[in-house]
């Protein structure tokens, strides 16, 4: 807000506005653009003409709209303006996806993580190879990739694209921007932050004032993302370090090295430890197969006391943690995602118990809790929308004056 403003800046702003409208609503005609953005028709003309010259937008002659009068021509993002490449790092695999400037998925494949050599150096080599493979598979030139968008669980410094702490690499920092210096732009996001963003995108239509929502990802680890939906249509997200927030000084060792983290009770390895009555100070398993969890759940559902108890304790840790988050950020609906959603029936009792304890919930009532198991889709949607929105904004600011800059 408190920064110098000028007429050029006005144009930037309004160009970004037009691009954002097309991004959210799909192809729009001149008049629709004018209506949605609130800009005068003449201004829309000026902006679209410029973006068209720059190869960013293209016209799509509409076959026949039916009504009479001059037919509308729709503007839309030109698909081949550029591409983005998303990389989703998870504990067992790395997923590479390629999408075009319109957000269309073009190619996707997955590479299993090499558990034989878990060093970061080796991982970086594999990452480089994976990116090269993506280009090769689609016969794409690296210069055409506008951004490489990477996601991981853990603590992330988005400014420097550095992974500060992650369940996979621990304290081995990875500076992705540095390591992938040959790529035009590299960004790193917390995975659950992307989930929250995607949920915000899906929820958006019902707009009013600025609203909030939370995404809670349950799996081997526990992640939280919070999205602020502004009245302007912007989505602002953050990823508080929820999984390793202190739950209780109960001595349960977490794989981060601390004790009493929420994850130490509610992560898969925490549940397993309690169910099998392993001492709480035992260093947790690196990875728990989902099948193993299903077995414990099966037994819990059949009435096995300790398994049931493990899930209830996990729910309690999540519920108390959430109640604290709601105290600090205010009430908001919570959507639970990830493989842990399969066990929600076993978690919910503890979850509700934990939530009910705080003043916040007593005042504003229980938060609305819903479930979207398909986490991977949400992560991809978040990747794509955030990367393309960033590109749109950049594009609006560095006026593409030159002709045919694109190809």
């Amino acid at each position: 807000m408190l920064t110098r403003s000028s007429t050029e800046l006005v144009r930037q702003q309004n160009s970004a506005l037009v691009l954002a409208a097309l991004r959210r609503q799909g192809a729009l005609s001149h008049t629709e653009l004018s209506a949605r953005t609130g800009l005068a028709s003449a201004t829309v003309s000026a902006i679209t003409a410029e973006l068209e010259r720059g190869g960013v937008l293209e016209r799509q002659e509409q076959a026949s709209a039916g009504g009479r009068g001059r037919p509308r021509v729709l503007f839309r993002q030109k698909r081949d303006y550029g591409h983005i490449l998303t990389v989703r790092i998870s504990s067992d695999a790395v997923q590479y996806s390629l999408a075009d400037y319109a957000g269309m998925l073009i190619d996707r494949f997955e590479e299993p993580r090499q558990h034989a050599d878990p060093s970061t150096a080796h991982f970086i080599d594999a990452l480089r190879a994976g990116l090269a493979k993506t280009l090769q598979r689609s016969r794409l030139d690296r210069a055409r990739v506008l951004e490489v968008s990477i996601s991981s669980k853990g603590i992330v410094d988005p400014a420097s694209a550095t992974l500060v702490w992650s369940p996979v690499f621990g304290l081995d920092e990875i500076d992705f921007a540095g390591v992938l210096g040959e790529w035009r732009s590299v960004t790193l996001s917390n995975e659950t932050l992307l989930v929250a963003h995607a949920l915000g995108l899906r929820a958006e239509p019902a707009s009013g004032l600025t609203r909030r929502l939370a995404a809670l990802s349950l799996g081997h680890s526990v992640g939280l993302g919070i999205a602020n939906l502004h009245a302007t249509g912007e989505i602002e997200v953050s990823a508080p370090n929820f999984g390793h927030m202190l739950h209780a000084a109960d001595g349960k060792v977490c794989r981060c090295g601390a004790q009493g983290c929420i994850e130490a009770s509610a992560g898969f390895y925490g549940i397993l430890r309690t169910a099998f009555e392993v001492p709480p100070d035992t260093i947790p398993a690196k990875f728990v197969p989902l099948a193993e969890m299903e077995k414990i759940a099966q037994r819990a559902r059949q009435g096995h006391r300790m398994s049931e108890y493990a899930f209830r304790q996990a729910g309690l840790a999540l519920g108390q943690g959430l109640s604290r988050v709601l105290s600090l950020y205010g009430s908001m609906p919570v959507t639970i995602t990830g493989p842990g959603t399969r066990f929600l029936d076993l978690l919910s009792r503890g979850l509700e118990e934990g939530l009910r304890q705080s003043q916040q919930v007593r005042l504003n009532g229980m938060p609305e809790i819903s479930m979207v198991p398909e986490e991977a889709t949400l992560v991809f949607e978040g990747h794509v929308d955030r990367a393309l929105t960033r590109i749109d904004r950049l594009l609006a600011s560095e006026r593409p004056l030159a002709e045919g800059e694109t190809a």
Copy 2:
């Protein structure tokens, strides 16, 4: 960001920029304004001329600067452009202050709360009377008061100026905007939020990227404010409901009605309850005189076990709570204010113990903790700066075209 922009908006923005510079830096000359805002000299001329016409700014002919050349003339906020009135509601008294448009304190007095009739209806009458008295004492017309800025501890809805929950009135909501409809503008802020804002103001000079700081207010109740210091000079604050965040399911009854709130352990009444070994499910005292607390502290310092324990438990609740806040918001320095600072020697052991437990602190180290006992001053500074900044912004947007609109 995503809203229509126009050349008029540019002017608004830049006018606000000029006003903000004068607000922060004091009187500035034409050239200094140009340098600090980054605006061209011609633009500064246009803006100052308009604001001068509107009676917002005035020139101060500088006596003699010493150097040669044409002497500078300083612009500054015209003190009599208007006034603001701040009201600080605390559990035992209400403080009224009057300040002018330059932020200068003009008058201040305090009215004790009537404990005989603690009803909200009676309080509102007293508030009205207090405001009237302020006008009368300074022989001021109500129309000259640009804003009434009220603060209280508790949960506040700033949009509607409604006190949702407070230690003083409980769930009796007070809609200040409605109740004080005859005043031009009425705002309500959480008290510790204002403290955080004021600390942000004081800290600002050392700027870089966007930074954060927290204010922790210790007294009969416990409050937290978080300030985001943006690189642009803006200060964005929030007041998470820290005092009533769940500390532990230990059954300690809080005066909010819930159990296990931080305040139930770390508020004065919580400390007193533990020190005197009163059962934790006892409804807490409405008010604990500071002298009483000093006595407990005295005994604790002399080695009385239970008193010492009470303070340590209070510190632990604060430390664990802070460690949770730092997990969620990231590391930041913490400044402790309020009467509770007197007992920091007794609290610090538990405080550090609680902080040390989380992954966040293990990763980023202990937060820097400092102390500013003079809370009342900070609250006033926060009131004034926030109110005047709001007025400046409003002023920049509703172009004062009319001549001599002020008086």
